[in-house]
């Protein structure tokens, strides 16, 4: 079959650093083509080149067999090629509907027709399986909802090629399933779909062909038939990935370090209680919007909330993150771009920001010590950066997550709260992060893992607390850990039943 879009020997350098070399890829109408690879392998960069956001340094693109260059993304879009970014690219001050139609407003008599746009926005969001209010300002949306809006925007007009860069990283399984439905529909219409994901099961489920990149080079392009996730992982990482989760450390003790009683966060959480033991990994599950983030943000003083918090037997109340940090509690935000890292500053400044006191000699910052710490962090956390002088925003998505982890670990906390620790992280790194979390627990620290990936909670945690609609719905002990148990608590119905409801058989 003829290809719609074909890349020929594409290379891309940022200055002297080559991040893509000689990549060829051809994309056929009506196929879902997955691109996988480790963090920093160059997937996003390739997508940006295909969709006109970046010009290639070498090589060229062919559209329907004719060579073509895109002057900018708008030009590419005019040729029927659209990219859903890994970063959220929406105007925070505009409403959902306004964002969806930005640059292509529906007009009536020369004026914008808000009613029509609202209705279309509503229907397309409905199709994606979400209830987001089209009149809501984007700044008030959770990241998941923003991602959905971004996807909706790309689907609003018909395209020949749609590229998704890790669309499901922030979505729940249910939302992801609606997205796959849509992708299949697109495929049926003869649209070519490019699909990047670190969730290899998803790739298996949705893709027709898979291209693997490693260190900016093309490793393989295979049909999905006979390509199992384990093999994909091997191609990506270059070694066998049989064991993702480490042994659960047997350090979970009865010694309570933190208890929270009747925590309330106005508008988000009511009556939440929990106990955290020394050396344990406590999972927090639930659907997106269940209020997990808010609960822990309130706990560490990042948003107003009230409740009784006991740390090591003493009553505490944190007014801001600094006090929590001083008490040995750190919280790693799920929103690494908006709340985790200073995207416009370099790695060194980002790394030391939370723990500056540790780098202060006398009154001044010891920059040499910072540099040493950066070397250490790059090594320990395997941050793939080809130059130390990048800005944090220039790191690949997964490497930003590692930098955030490194930054907060410099504080040497006793209690670590990690919100969505492996969002957008490749499978090799995931394994590293899991091992790291397990080692924290093994050292006797207490770790809270907030995650929307049930497998992760099951594979990693000693206990899982599940939240639903701003309340703690229940707890699953280690011996009972199963997807069904968690889903039941998260939704209030058993898995099969949930599937039935979703399928409309209720």
């Amino acid at each position: 079959m003829d290809s719609v879009l074909r890349a020929e020997n594409i290379s891309k350098s940022f200055g002297p650093i080559e991040v893509l070399s000689g990549i060829s890829l051809d994309l056929r109408p009506g196929e879902v083509h997955a691109v996988i690879g480790e963090n920093g392998a160059g997937k996003s960069t390739l997508m940006r080149i295909l969709s006109g956001h970046l010009p290639p340094t070498k090589g060229r693109l062919h559209l329907n067999g004719h060579p073509i260059t895109f002057s900018d993304p708008v030009d590419a879009e005019a040729h029927g090629i659209v990219l859903v970014h890994q970063e959220i690219l929406l105007a925070p001050d505009l409403t959902v509907a306004q964002n969806l139609f930005l640059g292509r407003e529906i007009k009536r008599f020369g004026f914008v027709d808000d009613k029509a746009m609202r209705e279309r926005a509503h229907s397309i969001l409905q199709e994606l399986g979400t209830n987001i209010d089209p009149d809501r300002e984007v700044r008030h949306l959770s990241i998941a909802d923003r991602q959905l809006v971004q996807i909706a925007r790309a689907l609003l007009v018909p395209h020949k090629v749609v590229a998704f860069d890790e669309p499901t990283a922030v979505l729940t399984p249910i939302e992801a399933e609606s997205l796959f439905e849509i992708i299949r529909k697109l495929r049926a219409q003869g649209v070519a779909v490019l699909y990047i994901s670190h969730r290899l099961n998803e790739v298996k489920a949705v893709a027709d062909r898979v291209t693997v990149l490693r260190d900016g080079r093309h490793v393989a392009t295979r049909d999905i038939e006979g390509l199992e996730p384990l093999e994909m992982a091997r191609l990506m990482v270059g070694r066998d990935m049989s064991k993702l989760y480490p042994e659960k450390p047997a350090t979970a003790s009865e010694q309570t370090v933190l208890t929270v009683r009747d925590m309330a966060v106005p508008g988000f959480v009511e009556n939440a209680s929990l106990t955290l033991h020394r050396g344990e990994i406590l999972g927090f599950g639930g659907l997106i919007g269940a209020g997990r983030t808010e609960l822990f943000e309130a706990l560490v003083g990042l948003r107003p909330g009230h409740g009784a918090i006991t740390l090591d037997g003493g009553q505490v109340h944190f007014r801001d993150a600094r006090e929590a940090m001083a008490a040995g509690i750190v919280y790693l935000s799920e929103d690494r771009k908006g709340k985790g890292l200073l995207l416009q500053q370099n790695l060194r400044i980002n790394l030391s920001l939370a723990a500056l006191d540790k780098f202060t000699r006398g009154s001044f910052i010891d920059i040499a010590a910072e540099e040493t710490a950066l070397d250490g962090a790059i090594k320990d956390f395997d941050i793939r950066t080809r130059s130390r002088d990048l800005l944090a925003g220039q790191l690949s998505g997964g490497n930003q997550q590692k930098l955030l982890l490194a930054k907060m670990m410099l504080l040497e906390p006793r209690i670590v709260i990690i919100d969505e620790p492996t969002r957008g992280v490749d499978i090799g790194t995931k394994e590293q992060i899991y091992r790291f979390i397990a080692s924290l627990a093994a050292e006797g620290k207490a770790v809270v893992v907030i995650s929307s990936e049930m497998q992760e909670l099951i594979g990693l945690c000693h206990r899982v607390v599940v939240m639903r609609n701003g309340r703690v719905a229940g707890e699953v002990a280690q011996s009972d850990l199963s997807e069904d148990a968690i889903v039941y608590l998260a939704t209030g119905v058993h898995e099969e039943r949930a599937a039935e409801i979703a399928a409309g058989h209720a």
Partner: protein, 332 residues
């Protein structure tokens, strides 16, 4: 199915938003009550009409500033631009012998054309030179101001033909159905401004640009055109303000329009538009302009503030008015 939001939240949020947009009005009401308590003459129709009429120039200019600021820009040159436009307009009127409507129309046309051109110049330098608008418009502020002084040879430019002045006077002093013409003009400008900002795709683009330039660019918003246009709109607003201003005193001096830029920006900010862009509130801006003029009026009407301390009390009132606004929409 995913339950995302607690049911009441959407309602609550909507109400909150309205409070934010409403809060300049609340500050206004508080001020009016304060004024009435301080001096009974304050609430007379003639006094209030005076105040609102006077606020017309700043209000009209500030409507333009709302566009520039909402798009993430800034224009410091408006005061000088007003002086230059007024000067050139009067010189145009003087160059014609006759005192008829034609002459007047010609002068008005000249004013609008010049101010739009000044705005265009600002816009082009900001967009194509990629210099901070603060610096660009500070520079053009000096240029425009100097040009007036030069045209006036340091003195005053006055409408020489007295008949023409009389013909023109009603544009400031006249009224239609009891409403002074300047108030009608400023309501018209604000309405059109609101319509453009809220109901056209250009207006949408302005806000998007101020909110996140990259997003706007990727969405196919013609950044340069939009940005330049905001400055042109600002220029045209200045031109309209001048049309209303000139008949009042019939002259332009080197001090005409001094510090108007500060007043316009203040009106915009009081009205709830964020200085960093992304939010634009035309009606808030208009209320902001009226608030500024009201505060000055109350100062003169009150008897217990020494002339030396007027500025201090005025400054304090503006801060307090903002605190009132804040506490209103935080309290909910």
């Amino acid at each position: 199915m995913t339950e995302t939001v607690l049911p009441t939240r959407a309602e609550k949020r909507k109400f909150k938003m309205d409070m934010r947009a409403l809060s300049p009005f609340i500050a206004l009401i508080v001020l009016i009550i304060a004024g009435a308590l301080i001096n009974p003459d304050f609430l007379t129709a003639s006094n209030l009409l005076n105040v609102v009429t006077r606020s017309a120039f700043i209000a009209i200019i500030a409507v333009g500033a709302t566009f520039v600021i909402a798009s993430g820009g800034l224009d410091l040159s408006v005061g000088s631009m007003a002086a230059l436009t007024a000067g050139v307009m009067i010189l145009t009127l003087n160059s014609q012998g006759s005192a008829d409507m034609g002459t007047l129309a010609l002068g008005m046309l000249a004013a609008i054309a010049l101010s739009a051109a000044c705005g265009l110049a600002n816009g082009l330098i900001v967009t194509f030179g990629r210099i901070e608008p603060f610096i660009v418009t500070l520079g053009t502020m000096g240029i425009f101001r100097s040009l007036v002084i030069w045209l006036a040879a340091g003195g005053t430019i006055t409408i020489r033909n007295l008949e023409l002045r009389e013909l023109y006077r009603p544009v400031y002093f006249g009224s239609v159905f009891g409403i002074p013409v300047p108030i009608i003009a400023f309501l018209a400008v604000a309405s059109i401004g609101a319509l453009i900002l809220y109901r056209t795709s250009f207006g949408r683009h302005v806000v998007a640009l101020g909110s996140n330039e990259d997003v706007a660019r990727y969405s196919g918003v013609p950044i340069w055109r939009v940005r330049t246009l905001t400055y042109i709109i600002q220029g045209i607003c200045v031109g309209i303000a001048v049309l209303v201003y000139v008949p009042r005193l019939g002259s332009a001096t080197p001090t005409t329009g001094l510090l108007w830029e500060l007043q316009a920006i203040t009106a915009v900010v009081i009205g709830g538009t964020a200085l960093k862009g992304g939010i634009g509130r035309v009606w808030g801006t208009v209320v902001g302009a009226v608030i500024l003029e009201l505060v000055a009026n109350i100062m003169v009407l009150s008897n217990f503030v020494s002339e030396f301390l007027v500025g201090a009390v005025q400054g304090a009132i503006i801060i307090i008015a903002m605190l009132v606004q804040r506490s209103v929409h935080r309290g909910r």
